[in-house]
């Protein structure tokens, strides 16, 4: 028999209450029987006994301490003797039952069961799409904030009860159900809604590769169609995940390596990418383009290795400074402490154009870049920040690029989950000329500023765009993009948004579709713009009257009655 968490709680209470309930039944039974056996006298002074009916009545009100007195007739001394026993027995029985109930409410297992039941109930009551986030660390917090900002729901699983409690401290607009439990257990994932049809994606963001791997396997087997996003730090874990078909494996270091390579090769494309994938509502600070020339890298760990690979791809010479002796003899390797000027000078910091401070120690990284800047003020600095708590220090030091892996993962997750088309667009810009990207970047940031815009996609079908769907189903009707993107409050101005990409049903994608592009059913459109434009466009595509206003400028009345009156007035005018 399948047991839901609610039933589980019910059974737990029943099992714990077994002994106290039996004790109460026995006490009441013994008391009642005893009272029927005790000799008494009736109204006429004749010997008689209480019947079961009266005895049970008396015991019921005595045991519950209501105490109506001696009913139906005054008791004999023998009966009173037995009643004394009954009173003390029932007090003991109730005390035992109450203490059992109180102990149950204090019990850790019971409280855990109550919490997980409440959590499951909350998840079950979510009536809109939600994302399941496993691990509420720095990354999880960023993603929750961004989802909340976008008006999307999230469900959080976190192993550490302290961190799980943080969810309630960070104020979110929507209620985020959170459970302190180990997300690597399939049953916990199921309670959190992994198999719920409203779950739109699962993110494994714990700082433990093994746990992320377990979540990926559960997601793959229990909900094969669900997009699973997994954070991973070691390449072998990534290979393991890839082997059973995890679609999105996010290695923040490798990802930043790709970004760095892109920034070196095509700076405008890189800026466009950071602007489009930023955390919504934040402002992107445009840094200078990374220069080409000799680089110095401090700390050859997994991050350092990814950076070296990126610089190699762009054929830039790298000098590595590491505390350990050379592991890779093909490279220029200086064994020493990069925080000191000696090692940096030895690595040729004077001639270098850039430095990557990539050790796992935040203080070391800061020390390295401060010393290096003193030796060569024009250096382009790439600074790795490991711990969120040190943010103030990193902000104070004005680095060109600060690498925060939690932010990289968060951006990546959001881009994949909320706008799948964006990935297509970003891949395309990486293959185009940089001048092309620069043109788009200047046009868009000129219009929308450097604040991270809302990026969203729209599919022209019945559920998402009912008004457009109905309009296009009429024979001979047309709809061009320029008309659709007019302001529904004032059709003579355009909405503050731009179409980046249009994907036809067949699969051909058109970059930057023009205003005269005809929209067909099944098209998917990627849009970028102000959040207001997203709301206004939703109004246009959902409300037939708004759509007609945008197309023709006539304001149609809303209800049937008003429409009927309007038709009557119109026909009356015509007949006149």
């Amino acid at each position: 028999m399948a047991v839901t968490p609610q039933q589980g709680l019910f059974f737990l209470v029943l099992r714990r209450m077994r002994a106290p309930l039996i004790a109460l039944i026995l006490i009441l039974a013994v008391s009642t029987v005893g009272l029927t056996l005790a000799p008494g006298v009736d109204v006429d002074g004749q010997p008689s006994r209480l019947s079961f009916f009266h005895a049970f009545y008396f015991i019921s009100y005595t045991a519950t301490t209501i105490g109506f007195g001696e009913i139906p007739v005054t008791f004999s001394d023998q009966q009173r003797l037995w009643v004394i026993v009954c009173i003390y027995l029932s007090v003991v029985g109730w005390a035992y039952a109450f203490s059992a109930v109180l102990a149950l409410f204090q019990d850790a297992a019971f409280l855990g069961a109550v919490r997980s039941e409440r959590f499951a109930g909350k998840v079950g009551r979510i009536r809109e799409p939600f994302y399941l986030i496993c691990g509420y660390g720095e990354t999880g917090r960023l993603i929750c904030r961004a989802l909340d900002h976008l008006g999307l729901r999230a469900v959080v699983l976190e192993k550490d009860p302290g961190k799980a409690g943080d969810v309630e401290l960070h104020e979110y607009l929507a209620d985020i159900p959170v459970l302190a439990a180990d997300a690597s257990q399939p049953e916990i994932l199921r309670i959190a809604g992994l198999t719920n049809p409203r779950c739109k994606g699962v993110m494994a963001l714990t700082n433990d590769d093994q746990a992320n791997l377990a979540i990926a396997i559960s997601a793959r087997l229990l909900a094969p169609k669900l997009p699973a996003l997994c954070r991973v730090e070691h390449p072998d874990s990534a290979a393991n995940m890839a082997s059973f078909g995890t679609r999105h494996i996010i290695n923040p270091f490798a990802r930043f390596g790709e970004y760095l390579a892109l920034a070196l090769r095509a700076p405008a494309a890189y800026h466009l990418l950071t602007w489009l994938t930023g955390v919504p509502g934040t402002t992107i600070r445009r840094h200078r383009d990374p220069p080409r020339g000799p680089w110095v890298l401090c700390g050859y760990g997994s991050f350092g290795a990814a950076m070296v690979e990126a610089l190699d791809r762009e054929a830039l010479p790298v000098t590595i400074i590491d505390r350990h002796p050379a592991r890779d003899l093909t490279r220029t390797w200086i064994e020493g402490d990069a925080t000191g000027a000696q090692a940096l000078t030895g690595a040729g910091i004077g001639q270098a154009v850039g430095i990557v401070a990539g050790t796992a120690n935040d203080v070391d990284n800061l020390s390295v870049v401060v010393t290096a800047r003193e030796l060569n003020p024009r250096l382009f600095t790439v600074l790795r920040q490991n711990n969120f708590a040190n943010r103030a220090l990193f902000e104070a030091f004005d680095s060109d690029v600060t690498v925060v892996s939690s932010e990289i993962i968060a951006h990546e997750c959001l881009a994949i989950l909320t706008t799948p088309l964006l990935d297509l667009f970003l891949q395309e810009i990486q293959h185009r000329e940089d001048a092309w990207s620069r043109e788009i970047l200047d046009a868009l940031t000129g219009r929308f500023d450097w604040v991270v815009p809302a990026v969203w996609s729209l599919r022209f079908n019945l559920p998402q765009t009912p008004a457009v769907h109905r309009h296009l189903m009429q024979p001979g009707s047309r709809m061009d993009l320029g008309t659709l993107l007019r302001d529904p409050h004032d059709r003579y101005s355009a909405l503050p948004c731009a179409a980046l990409l249009l994907r036809r049903e067949g699969g051909t994608a058109e970059m930057l579709p023009g205003a005269d592009t005809q929209i067909q059913l099944g098209d998917e459109l990627l849009l970028v713009g102000r959040p207001r434009a997203q709301r206004d466009l939703a109004l246009t595509v959902e409300n037939a009257n708004t759509l007609i206003y945008v197309q023709t400028g006539t304001d149609l009345p809303g209800g049937w009655l008003w429409q009927w009156l309007a038709r009557r007035r119109k026909s009356a005018e015509q007949s006149r």
Binding site: F11, R16, R18, L21, I22, L26, F52, H54
Partner: protein, 127 residues
């Protein structure tokens, strides 16, 4: 041997036997049906019900439901008895006796089902 199993079996069989003891006899003759036996049957049935609480298995669920049926029937019998002897005030007339005994007969059937399940469970486990 498991003490819990002994107690469990004891109460289930005792519930059935007490119920049977009350039920047996001429259906309308109050002399054949002692009210103390009815009371004992009710108490033992209630205890048997509580003992079945919290079993998540399929067989445990059927166990619990048969016990609940027996409780319901016996409590109905007790209410009819109370109504007949105290509210109508005519004592145990043949009509009231028949009604009480037939209700307890229904409970007896539920108790027999319970015992059969107990036996089936024991045979199934073969331990």
């Amino acid at each position: 041997m498991n003490l819990e199993k002994v107690i469990f079996g004891f109460f289930i069989v005792l519930a059935a036997t007490l119920n049977f003891g009350f039920f047996i006899g001429d259906i309308d003759n109050p002399v054949h049906h002692d009210v103390y036996e009815l009371f004992a049957a009710i108490v033992v049935n209630l205890i048997a019900t509580v003992l079945k609480f919290g079993d998540r298995t399929q067989i445990g669920a059927v166990h619990l439901s048969t016990s609940l049926v027996a409780d319901l029937q016996l409590l109905a019998a007790a209410m009819v008895w109370g109504y007949g002897t105290h509210i109508l005030g005519q004592g145990m007339t043949p009509e009231i006796t028949t009604s009480v005994v037939s209700l307890s007969g229904g409970a007896l059937f539920a108790n027999i089902v319970s015992v059969i399940i107990l036996i089936a469970e024991t045979i199934m486990q073969r331990r």
